[in-house]
Symmetry: C2
Subunit: 348 residues, 2 copies
Amino acid sequence: MSQDAMEKRVLDAVRQRREVVNEAVDDDLPMTEPDRLYEATRYIIKAGGKRLRPTISLLVGESLAEVEPLSADYRSFPALDGWEFDLLRAAMSVEVIQSFTLIHDDIMDEDDLRRGVPAVHIEYDEEAAILAGDTLYSKAFEMLSDTGARPEHEVEAVHRLASTCTRICEGQSLDVAYENRTDVSPEEYLEMVRLKTAVLFGASAAIPASLMGADQAVIEGVYQYGTDVGRAFQIQDDLLDLTTPSEQLGKQRGSDLVEGKETMVTLHARQQGVDVDNLVEADDPANVTEAAIEDAVGVLEAAGSIQFARERAQELAEQGRSDLTMLPDNEPRQLLDDLAEYLIARSY
Amino acid sequence: MSQDAMEKRVLDAVRQRREVVNEAVDDDLPMTEPDRLYEATRYIIKAGGKRLRPTISLLVGESLAEVEPLSADYRSFPALDGWEFDLLRAAMSVEVIQSFTLIHDDIMDEDDLRRGVPAVHIEYDEEAAILAGDTLYSKAFEMLSDTGARPEHEVEAVHRLASTCTRICEGQSLDVAYENRTDVSPEEYLEMVRLKTAVLFGASAAIPASLMGADQAVIEGVYQYGTDVGRAFQIQDDLLDLTTPSEQLGKQRGSDLVEGKETMVTLHARQQGVDVDNLVEADDPANVTEAAIEDAVGVLEAAGSIQFARERAQELAEQGRSDLTMLPDNEPRQLLDDLAEYLIARSY
């Protein structure tokens, strides 16, 4: 299959499941009193998002159940022993956790924009943003403890989600701590990304496997797939900031560099002796020229840092794909395989 | 039994269980990496606290199991069918949720002191406080999904804790909203207190009952006990601010009044036409005289507002005690009964 055909297939699969997830928001996260709290709670979820994590949950479920893609009712989905449970609600719980982390991270990182709209602490206020995040947090656990799966499987899934959230907090804590250090190694960065970003991809894959009663080896296999693909995804995000034209990126190319955000690329460059802090002179992405970014990227390329990051992303995606052999060989598994490839091939 | 003997018995029972809970902190919430995150996470828990909620959990467990108080191993505690589980870890999970809410509430309410020490966002910073709260949140769910109870009981307990956390967020949201209103009724206030404070007392009682496999009527009965006693506890706190001498209270008597904090007392007084906003002239508890507070309390007494609040607390404590008939008639139940009485009789 050509690269283009693969991309189309993956994007279709994600879009179809995104639509299902978007429709489920009103059922699983209904508007209720107090109005202002629930408006703030739903605001970022309603603002959009690729829904990659719940898509992974749904695909893992479909692969394990060996059903035709999109043919089974996600609300009464067959576990491996035929016991039915709400796979969509489980998938939603990881998306809800993702939204909670975005809201709290935006407060901590003082990021004012999210998904093209003002962040919750800007659109509402900081109190509302703390509370909206806290509400989504408990809502996710309400959902995941109410899927109708066999209790022993549900307990396992809940414990996975809880420990994943702890890891995410640890990752965010490291991210904050690393801002004050210039000697962070690419390995430390990768571990931070694993905790902050990748474990939730892992949980997205492992939770449906747990709920369906899969073997521990399968659960751990798809968990590995998620954490590998999640790290590859983040490195690719870092690369896109440097290599994608601004108009396609939807923001100034090289903003991370201008804002002094460390990535796999800059940390490798530091180790090669590049004076990363003075690569571009501007302090604000609004005041930087395309030529200045082009020069900076040239230096990073010459240091081998772009290539280094690209290879790490490719290795992780490869590793993720190899973990999928634990799943039955069917179309949903192929889509998970394509997704791993697409996430590092995408250009925006 | 005399009032004094009852008080001593309750305080002994609480102290004994507080010591057990305090000793369990290092096991259930160990120091780990990143250091700064886990220091901030344990800081408020280590700073003290009465441990009323886990005490209620332990007493409900002991009553249902019909064991001699403090005789059974809380770490392998007998459920009703003999299946063993970790009651102490379940009790700890509610205390951990309580700590998370204190940390986030202190940020939102801009309270700089907690348990006699600087609040987490003061001692560390706001980022650290948001993250410490978020970490405790997931830790509580990690603990409660790892008690070793029968899975169907554990799922029920987890779902109870999750929906309780959602209610707490709703209560905090109402509390914030009510700050901008002067027409809040005592009934609305009581509902806010039920959500913000009392449901966690309810969960503290209901969770061990669920984990032990008690009947739904018993679970709901002890949940009612908790929410009634929790509301009585909060109203008594409001009353103590007005009626306890400053030296005994450990802070300026009447601070709530000076700071404009609405309580059951002030909301009732407003309905009686009292100009609550001008009851004391000072804006800062540091600048108010004992005589000015005495005068203000006199006005509130004349309006019947102190009496009104006291009666509500008594009714709720009575109601809570009557719910205990669902438990076997034994010493732990008597202690829960005494505790309800003590919480509204205490003078600090």
